[in-house]
Subunit: 277 residues, 2 copies
Amino acid sequence: MTETTEPLSQYDAETAVELLEDGRFSAHVSDRWNIGDNPNGGYLTSIALRALRHLGGHQDPVSVTTHFLRPGLGNQPGEVHASIVRSGRSVTTGRATLVQEGKARIEVIAAMGDLSGTSGHDVDLTIAPPDDMPPLDDCVARSGLEQGVTLFIAERVDLRIRPDMSIAGASKDAEMQAWIRFADQRRPDTLAAVMFSDAFAPSIFTRLGRVGWVPTIELTVHVRRRPAEGWMMGRFVTEDLHDGRLVEDGWLWDSKGTLVARSRQLAMLLPGADTSA
Amino acid sequence: MTETTEPLSQYDAETAVELLEDGRFSAHVSDRWNIGDNPNGGYLTSIALRALRHLGGHQDPVSVTTHFLRPGLGNQPGEVHASIVRSGRSVTTGRATLVQEGKARIEVIAAMGDLSGTSGHDVDLTIAPPDDMPPLDDCVARSGLEQGVTLFIAERVDLRIRPDMSIAGASKDAEMQAWIRFADQRRPDTLAAVMFSDAFAPSIFTRLGRVGWVPTIELTVHVRRRPAEGWMMGRFVTEDLHDGRLVEDGWLWDSKGTLVARSRQLAMLLPGADTSA
């Protein structure tokens, strides 16, 4: 009998890391997840999380914080320097730095856990998805033209935006809702939920217009449950923008309408952003 | 002329650090900020932030994430090991570890900035405080008895809870609103906003009853503006509890009703918690 191996998904292949020694891993940062010139932050974070999965016993990222120090370099090699901060029964805490051309690009700290759901607690609270989200076929693909930036990531991530939120500057609210899945239909998991939490068009764009790249200073994702197979749905809102810095909140639900992840990021509105709309 | 020096506030005195060498600082962890046996997490984070303020040029914590590895030790010395990850024009990113008895207690990563508010951006969004918060005199002091734990921190932080949210297990919502200030009336600043974001009674207590200590796995605070003098007001909500892990969201406003900070924490409901209410 010959063993057959499933071909790796794009996400798995392009976030792969290989252990070198002493917590150092080699990686290749793809340019297929770029927003304009810069690799997407959720994509870069995924590479770092792969290293932490290697080192620790827990596989689900339950709390992940990434500080974006410098833009990553697409289509360039990189190294992840990772270490375990503390191993516990229910949580492994680790940190990881993605380095390219000798400079730290992102700094990650993560609590990894087990989200298979086995505790004895019988109290459960959760947040329901919006009840007026249109079906997939009524939504529209994310447009680089509308956002004012080239979206190489659209080859990797299929994003279908709620039509009334798809036009730059057309809304008084800074809110974005869309369906999301991998373009090659890879099944979502908890690592993908972190990546998806940073893969939507910035919600400020619906209010302010073609804002271009909105660089993130810091992103924290809390993953709450393992997602079911199929399209996921996300909602992202900016309720606070002051002195050029905004806080964007996100929610991701799976195809069964179960809350999978919540995210928050602190990002910058660049001075050149076209906010005349 | 003799110089006169203002006596240090309790908060300033009990979070002070002294530079030793190579990014190491000595500290003394007080037990006057304890929740039961354990120093409050926002208090411990403040000590780490003092070290980062020493090392970097930026003084306002704009994004602070703390991972709680082990309980701190009240009335014991400690060391903070801090380093700058990247210095930039608008943001300094640093990390800090609080060590006691040779073991890392908390791990902090923070982006420090300048919240004096000088950018040319003219778009401003913000979140208003609840419009039905009762005045201070109608609110009630936080009760250790109600929470099921001894609150040494009540000597340091004056918390006045909205009466309908002050009774364990009396509400179907997990929500907490209260006024807060330092007991010695020290003026609030951005560092204090981080501390206050972790100083309220857990919001899950209003729904589940005497839950005791709710240990935090990870806390992230985004500070948005510098607070005005006077009492601050906070709102904390738990909308997601699953498999014994809960996410609590927080908002802090200053005495003028301006949003100062938003926080989120991932915390654990201990198996022994009395949720029979």
